[in-house]
């Protein structure tokens, strides 16, 4: 089965991104396909490479980056939600005249159309939220 995943809450405050991560790992391990993971609302904050969680805690962003690398996952951060919350890639930083970018490896910033397209193409769309 081909899954599309929505993560709609931020890391650490909510368990949503942890549950999504565990689900995606389990789905891939059992031979399913994950066509895209779409980060919306505060979920976009999962994709900052500037978070520094305590060392004895899970490293949420690094977990996603590693999983994306291993399975060529498409991790998409919603541009509209990201702009509100200060998540930028270099392209956006240049375009908006900001002095830095903070997006982590394995993530890309794109539009809400990617969410709809995922819903059309996936067999099941699953939201991990509050």
């Amino acid at each position: 089965m081909k899954f599309g995943i929505v993560v709609s809450e931020g890391p650490y405050t909510h368990q949503a991104s942890d549950s999504a991560y565990n689900f995606v790992k389990a789905a891939l391990a059992t031979g399913h396909e994950v066509s895209r993971v779409f980060f919306y609302h505060d979920g976009v904050n999962v994709g900052t490479r500037l978070s520094i969680p305590p060392q004895d805690d899970r490293q949420i962003q690094e977990q996603w980056t590693a999983l994306a690398k291993e399975h060529e996952l498409d991790l998409v951060i919603c541009i509209a939600a990201a702009q509100r919350r200060g998540l930028l890639d270099q392209n956006e930083a240049d375009r908006q005249g900001k002095d830095a970018n903070n997006i982590a490896d394995g993530f890309r910033i794109s539009g809400l159309g990617q969410l709809i397209e995922m819903g059309i193409q996936a067999d099941r769309t699953i939201t991990f939220g509050d």
């Binding site: 929505v6 919306y40 509209a80 539009g111 809400l112 969410l115 709809i116 059309i120 769309t125 939220g129």
Partner: protein, 135 residues
């Protein structure tokens, strides 16, 4: 893209206090470009999103409630509202905005977009969808 799926956007939260309602509406408006079969559902505190006379000036927030009246232009014409959620909050249909859409197959007759359904009816609406996005 020729696949047409039934998309349902489920709104459970009050319009202000959190950003969910506003960002849900942004998805609906962008999604309209994909020519899918779109419906919206309003239940729990989500029914407050459709109330008329919203005034956010004192709170310093953007009042996005007029956008609901423009949804017909985006071919979003089915807004399911749960009766029990209205009842539990002391609301009636009269407290909600008059939201209409123009039916081009019926001489552009203006028709109401809001469809009040029971809780059981809402379950049927959800069961009938291909993609359910919850906000």
């Amino acid at each position: 893209m020729s696949i047409v799926k039934k998309f349902l956007y489920v709104n459970r939260k009050a319009p202000y206090g959190t950003i969910y309602a506003q960002e849900a509406l942004e998805v609906v408006l962008i999604g309209a470009a994909f020519d899918q079969d779109v419906s919206m559902a309003f239940l729990d505190d989500g029914v407050f999103q459709l109330t008329k006379g919203q005034d956010t000036k004192e709170a310093g927030l953007k009042n996005f409630s007029p956008t609901f009246r423009a949804l017909g232009d985006y071919e979003v014409t089915k807004l399911y509202v749960e009766q029990e959620s209205l009842d539990e909050r002391g609301l009636t249909l009269d407290d909600l905005q008059d939201i209409q859409w123009e039916d081009e197959d019926d001489d552009y007759a203006e028709k109401p977009s809001i469809i009040v359904v029971s809780r059981a009816g809402m379950a049927d609406v959800m069961a009938d969808q291909d993609v359910v996005l919850s906000f």
